[in-house]
Symmetry: C2
Subunit: 161 residues, 2 copies
Amino acid sequence: MIEPSLALYGETFEKVEQHLDELLAATGVRYCLLVDRKGFVLSHKEALWAPRPPALDSVATLVAGNAAATGALANMLGESTFSEQIHQGEKGVLYVESVGDSALLTLIFDSSVPLGRVKVYAKKTIAVITGLLKTLQDVPAVSFDQSFSTSASALLDDLLG
Amino acid sequence: MIEPSLALYGETFEKVEQHLDELLAATGVRYCLLVDRKGFVLSHKEALWAPRPPALDSVATLVAGNAAATGALANMLGESTFSEQIHQGEKGVLYVESVGDSALLTLIFDSSVPLGRVKVYAKKTIAVITGLLKTLQDVPAVSFDQSFSTSASALLDDLLG
């Protein structure tokens, strides 16, 4: 089964949400998505005034797929990856930036929003979120020690006679 | 067989090359490619000081493929297409902009080149090239009229007795 490469939960999740909220408020961006490299939505926020958002799950999948697909193009030009991608449409802009190795920050906003401001605030937010995600990865894996093993054996012996 | 959707030749080709040369000189861009939507290179130019270019054919194919692939994403956000795409790497930038419905202007340049200047000059060049490509499409198709038909029949009758 395909699972998100990151499990964002608890206190860290709330902190990330708070930073995304601040980013929305500071820039005037319409939707804000934190997407796993595999295409899972880790967190999303929309502006209060924003109308019904597009299908964010599908957007996340396409964004992650596109980021992976442009990797070949990046390598061809001697880059390891494109850290920042801007797709400019007639009415709006889709802005995708790498958050460490495991996630992508996706911002959707109107063409009237100044791109420079979005870039500055996005980079600030990304620096913070990268740190937060790192703490998640540093959580020690659950380890089953000798005493667990003996007590589990004892329990099984007890159960099965 | 897959063929380019545009045949760029003769006087028009020379004019396009000249405009691309001017674009390179004005912006400090490293490589400049005019790519068919199907991935064919219609014309390309590199700066005199630029080192050996990457495999431009492959870049063109990937750029065209990527432009087509992001169409789904554009539709999902209520856009007909993303007219402008910027891929920012560590050292360089890949800039792709639509030239009418049939071609893409691809610029590859170092991060030190001001993006604003590239955008302004690219838009100017694109306006001109769009006009030039339009004249190509307006060329009347070769038509075989009645007199051609009768003379061809006569020739065949003559040949085959």
